[in-house]
Symmetry: C2
Subunit: 202 residues, 2 copies
Amino acid sequence: MKLYDNAFAPSPRRVRMFLAEKGLPFERVEVDIAAGATGQADFLAINALGEVPVLELDDGTRLTESLAICRYLESLHPQPPLLGTSPLEQARIESMVLSVMFRLYVPTTHVFRHTHKFWQGRLTQIPSYGELARQQVLDEWQRLDVHLGSSSFMAGERFSLADIVAFTTLEFGKVAGIRVQPAQSRLARWRDSIAARPSASA
Amino acid sequence: MKLYDNAFAPSPRRVRMFLAEKGLPFERVEVDIAAGATGQADFLAINALGEVPVLELDDGTRLTESLAICRYLESLHPQPPLLGTSPLEQARIESMVLSVMFRLYVPTTHVFRHTHKFWQGRLTQIPSYGELARQQVLDEWQRLDVHLGSSSFMAGERFSLADIVAFTTLEFGKVAGIRVQPAQSRLARWRDSIAARPSASA
């Protein structure tokens, strides 16, 4: 397997963590987003959407979208389970994955795009919208700090893809100035427990 | 099964279409979003996020997030398959579902929230951001018009959840003034084929 990857982007990091948790070997191909590589013809021939990650199988088949890639890997390599083992547990984990994606990941990307100087001159920035998205992100992390008072992991008592998605989103948030707040001790405890896993540095 | 639902919202409509395609009976509970019902204590006790749909099973278990609900239903009622039957087909369908959610559905909700008079005084609106999101939506439908030149459905030659997600997003877009353009004949052909299914009026 070959992963078209980027060392700094949150979406391919989800897949790297997932592969590491599964103990699956793969070849890494770094795609230099900052230098514009995802918009160039040779990469667009690999993924017309100009996005990483792309997982290329040994027969050349290419898969896109990090969450779809993770589910494909889970189907072929069910141990250790990261997407749940019963339909009900699968629904609970997927619900939390999607909630984190829509309520945290998407607005975090918007804070970055609309407020960070990296994007000045590259994209239309609307800083007032970026600040609105920032408040949404801060409110949601606060809600999850409370949630983690009654749950060891994001979706119950077992590490899952929901933790990978939330952890990589929190890490990505640093670039947009989003941090765990001093009073968020449950969120900090969870973050430290995920950061201590070998997959966190994958 | 009981579905906490709303007749006008796109997310519960996905689940209604999915249930209709599967031929599954359910009890409908209308939740009046416009009157603020999703923010009231009795509904927040059902879903703390204040969102529909919620699927309540006969034992009282509640599931949230439309896509997680659909996958749960697919696990219990695999026929007709709407999420693919092999890991590879499943990955292809999920990739398209997610792509439509992130590249079309989310920005369509933003066009609605930031430009529609319904939200005036209810939410902070930033119309310039709404127009940016509108352009993203129009560009993406144009890309999908081209895509449908080589594919009968959104994710290959079989109707799937990707069609449900795209169709309900297109329908929802009407409220934000988003329409199929006269030159987009392939998109119009696909839309008409989905609209002709009995599930489209579920």
